[in-house]
Assembly symmetry: D2
Homo-oligomer: 442 residues x 4
């Protein structure tokens, strides 16, 4: 279930069945070398074992199949590796996986995969937020309808809309970086997490192993303390929600009746199997699909984290496909939106035209707030609300109603009204907000 | 993400990338034949198109990859099929996928896959419930500690424990059968669900298409009404929970300190990569993993069901990997537990021994209820509770305390106490319950 | 967490803390009467106990607080009831809750609450689907843009859009009715589900108890088989998704740029705290909020269903607030949408106007399919797609492009084009679909 | 749905309907004062408004009810406040909620509630981890069976088991502190997030408002960027999983057949409504219930975060009950486990006795690893596995089998075997791990 549509080639490669075994073999190779150096296993066994830790020597399908009886992948992999090594060097065969437990190989392998995945994701995140920051700066004063409850509310700018998302994506990046720093750690504890099988050499082997694999060594093994991996899952989950928000907004702007933005077009992109005119928001579709699927997977990780004693029953296995899927979906959503942002078609004219679609109602708050210092917010609200109702009933422009309203005339002259019905004059702190939000992007 | 460990070979085959395209081609072939018969497309085009609807003619990977730009699999598949047909017969090439939309092919293809999957699942469900019914009958009077809050409560029988699960599985079977009957229907509506592209032949084509594919034709297309597919998802979700309950109970009975049941053993099954003595409950592990993963996926289906207008954006695609995954995990859990049930090791002696592990406390309710008609339930409760406390404090058998208690002596003589401390005498309606629950299994 | 905004007064009353205790007392009263009749407890105790089973005699807050130590509500409630009865009649006090366990009272109480809730929900469901069926019939030929991927696709009718939802709601009703029939059953099993505490009178008491409470007596107690309650949760979850779909569609139609439908307006309804012109889709908001919250709660029910042995630890309690919340949110969404449907403002003129917003592109498929019998679907697709591109580039109407296209002129004359650009002529089987879908609503 | 059983009185008070309105009034009061100071509203209006921002002046139920039509609580609250202020001072009444939008009051109010909730939670987290750290130190060398897949695996110590949880809880604390620092920020943006209604005073008012309420002012408003609140939800979700793990382990240790730990007992705590002997793990039950319910709620927050444009439709409201519920459940689980940890009964004798329950099999890995340097891990594994099988078949102690095994005798003499069958000799780096993990707790 990791079809190309929802993820990226890079992430598919990182989480492929073969790459997974390869990462576990990397653990076994490093373990053997380190143990040989520390003197836990015979000197030459390290080299012999490492030489056999090459995934191309193994039948991935057969090992996956054997896991059905064994309960996990490490058991048949270690068995196959042991046989393979022993054929060359019977003694060395006896020292494969020495002192380790299946979970050490599986969890550490996953950490290595996730480390690679987060590098890919951080790069695409930078790419997306840079593209959006560029658009936000370019459209700092491009007026657009602000919409609440999906209805026109008051004018805003495209710049401020996008800067808010850039700001969220920057926090997502910090959160992912922080999760990576906390959570990408070595797993090495032996059968029950005491490293008893290595006598007094446990910590020495662990430290050397972590150094060799480039993974921080935690205070102690974490076989059934899954908070770290949940932190990564949650950080990716939150980022996916940000991407979903961006995708939904752009898809709403792309609607035929709105037409303010469109995804980049390309041959073969966004067409329909039956309708010749279609240019569908396929990037948004991918990101929205991810934003619908990832929350349930994050919840699965939290459920799976309630693991019994020194090894979880069923719950630990529940992570094996779930965590990679979160990373693949999040990364796929990210790449899709990066491509959208980099080629986004913005239709400023349509944005301007749409601002007038409510015949002035979108400026109602501006008028109310212009009256408020004199009349009070509440009286102004009542007055303008009544004018709005009449404008809708009579199908005339709000301005026409207001001009005929004596109470208003006393406070606002024609010039003042002109100013109030120009969206560019009612954007408050938009520019300052954009500057503050994009400060990191200079 | 559909590794062998968590599912069955049969289900992997049904939901493989190639099988998916194959089922969509089955739709296209049937559509062409039916349209040729009805006279919507040229007579000969039906045969030509059908002949090319053979998945071995297509590069599955390339089509999956092309879906990244197209947004779904049907677009590149139809394009490839059209090219392929046109090479043989240019005119017929013009009538591929005639009047249909991508969703018709994708949804109907999924229905065909699910129909096969439910056949596999129903067979395994029958296998499991038959095995459990056999055990329930065999152990109708095998005493075992009833446990509430994970603590000994009062005696029950293994038969009644298992009969309750058989009863739940029978309801699961009814629920799945009912969902299959309601939900496995043809999807065929064209671009926006009106079949306008077929003029006045729409319903005629739909009826013939349904007949050819063996799928019921619903009142109208259901492009964005996803309740039916959610019903299947939910029925499988509930079944997976039942399997999780069975798995958890058996795993708890298998604990080293309990030892009342064990999964079947076989070479290579349930061993450890480091601990030579291990015989792990691998079947339970698979079922529990499924019971942790499936609920989030069912929730995803419910979220995905809120689909916009005539075609959902992102939410429909969110189903594509989710629904197969639910079926694969549910089916994997089922097969794992069927294997466990068919080979379950039951240790009656250990069950009997464990009944005495609390030094008689498990009979406290029996004693209380024997006193209740005379003393009232409440007074009896207070009296026996106090006796229990003393038994625990003094580390003696509850019976010893009770025998020395004058109030009790007045109501219960030695013989009565003998009877009360025999678990076989305190199983109430167990036999009747088993008979009622297993009535379907005669 | 059951504030009025998200539910109905009727459901709040059914699931209030006081109503919950009241329903448990109803169980205790019925149990006592039945046991008195069967001769399990003294004749007079039945009446005395029943008389005290009145929630106004108890301090709800104190009992809820005492549950913190006891672990559930039944323990302090039974203790308080026992004290209360004993004050009047010491002997009768001894026969309160005779032979029952906490779960019997709590589960049966919940079943009684759910029975009431489903009556409320079924009535509102009928109300909503009747209102929508009326609209569907009224607007059977009202043309509206069919939208896929949120973009204009091809014309359809408002009638067919709504009939599809009526059809889904009718299935929801069947599903809920079926779940109610299967799942609303008595819970009565005593400590570990054997009814051992009642000797050979267990089933007799159970049958009489079920009859008195109007609940079907199942084959056997279901303390830790939670599939039935999950079935109710799932049926309500699916219905909530249907409501979310309806709410989302109506909210999209209500957008300022679309304006094809609006929720009923009323003083105080849908205003803004700051914007005087706002008329927000508050009904849709409530239904959408439910459709976002309920799936996670359904997943919780499925997780909670994995209950250990004869009484679940933590998982059973996880249902206590979750199941009522599902019913309350589902019912709240239903009521909100019923009010919306009954007062929906439909703007046919705007629907007609919007059909032209793409300058004819929405008729592209109609043109293609008119050309297809002659040119083949594929060639027609290429030809019309190219015409669409030119229409967009040159900002002219698709018809203008087509008229100048020689290949097309050969197949379609002016009159044929006129017909193709009238949405009423491209709605295929819409009327038949509406009739089939609304057949139940005559 | 916030009954006492699942949370704490402190958190119920923080999230009560009345406290919620009170916090929103705190926002309105601060806003008025700040705006009066900055000169946006008349000087005296600040004091008058603040004086009326007292929740006891309002009918909470009526406001909650009015929210059904308004769509949120702020609208009727602001209306009631305006009326109330205007009765005293008509002019001041006109300046209530000046320039703000409903979401400013609701989100900022929630931030203030969450700030209080996190203080409560951080205190209980400190209390729990301190108690566990004390136990971990005390039992640093207390031998206990290490259990994997719920089966005995190899010996470990109670200290190392608990230290691992302390370590996780410390990370949870860091995560919550970090989320609090990032996420507890002012919400203030006006209608569409530009603060246009305040002209050029927007940022000045925002800064003063943040200072007055003690909330950091973010770069820009975050009406539809919900990543911060999701970060809090996720941090609490991960903590709840840690608590669930602790609860599950302790409940498993409390099982009648294991008996190694018990929750503190007290009158009225953990009894049964029918079984006089019961002492149920009620604290664990509460924590486990939370660990089952919270993941779905975290997923709801992630779904809800996909909010449209400048104000989410339905999704923002979906947060209103969900986020408080997460905090209440997490805090309830925490308090329950703090009470358990502080009074935990540890039965060292039972732990020692249980180590022998497998007749030596738990020492199989120790023996294997003692043989491995000489025989190789693989040969040793095969040899010991075979000895284990024979021990089980013949129902004798593993040691007896090993003593009779010539190959083993050559490597291990009696004394060596003595040493290997003492659990205290096979705990590897346990002491070091405990020291490292508890370093923060000195």
């Amino acid at each position: 279930m990791n079809e190309p549509l929802f993820t990226t080639d890079a992430l598919r490669a990182i989480f492929s069945p073969s790459a997974r075994l390869s990462r576990m073999l990397e653990f076994e190779a490093a373990l053997a070398q380190v143990e040989a150096n520390v003197g836990v296993i015979p000197k030459h066994a390290g080299d012999v074992i490492e030489r056999h830790c090459d995934v191309s020597r193994f039948e991935v399908d057969a090992i996956e199949k054997a896991a059905q009886d064994a309960g996990n992948l490490a058991i048949p992999l270690v068995a196959a590796l042991t046989r393979d090594v022993a054929q060359e060097d019977a003694e060395a065969g006896g020292f494969v996986h020495y002192g380790a437990t299946s979970q050490d190989a599986i969890d550490t392998g996953l950490m290595l995969q996730l480390r690679d995945a987060l590098v890919v994701i951080e790069a695409d995140l930078a790419r997306l937020s840079t593209a959006l920051a560029g658009l936000a700066r370019k459209h700092a004063t491009t007026s657009i309808a602000g919409r609440t409850w999906l209805m026109h509310a008051a004018p805003t700018t495209l710049g401020v809309k996008l800067a808010a998302i850039v700001s969220a994506l920057d926090r997502d990046r910090d959160r992912i970086a922080s999760a990576a720093e906390h959570a990408l750690v070595l797993q090495f504890g032996g059968a029950v997490g005491t490293l008893a099988s290595l006598g007094d050499k446990g910590i020495a082997v662990a430290e050397a192993l972590g150094a060799r694999l480039g993974l921080r060594v935690p205070d102690m093994p974490w076989h059934t303390e899954r908070d770290r991996i949940c932190e990564i899952a949650a950080a990716l989950g939150v980022m996916t929600a940000t991407l979903g928000k961006l995708a939904r907004d752009l898809a709403l702007l792309a609607q035929s009746e709105v037409g303010e933005a469109a995804e980049p077009s390309a041959p073969g992109r966004g067409g329909s199997s039956t309708m010749p005119q279609k240019r569908n928001p396929v990037g948004a579709s991918i990101a929205l699909a991810a934003s619908i699927r990832v929350p349930g997977l994050v919840a699965t990780m939290l459920h799976a984290a309630v693991q019994e004693h020194e090894r979880g029953l069923g719950n630990w296995p529940a992570e094996w496909e779930t965590m990679p899927q979160i990373a693949m979906l999040a990364g796929g959503a990210l790449r899709a939106m990066a491509a959208v942002a980099e080629g986004l078609d913005v239709d400023k004219a349509r944005m301007a035209a749409n601002l007038d679609i409510t015949h002035g109602l979108i400026f109602a708050e501006a008028v109310q707030m212009a009256l408020a210092p004199t009349l009070g917010r509440d009286a102004a609200h009542t007055l303008v609300a009544s004018a709005c109702r009449r404008a809708v009933e009579k199908r005339v422009h709000l301005r026409d109603i207001l001009e005929r309203e004596a109470t208003i005339g006393r406070v606002l002259d024609r010039k003042a009204l002109d100013r109030l019905f120009d969206p560019a004059n009612y954007i408050g702190e938009s520019r300052a907000f954009i500057e503050r939000a994009l400060a990191h992007h200079r």
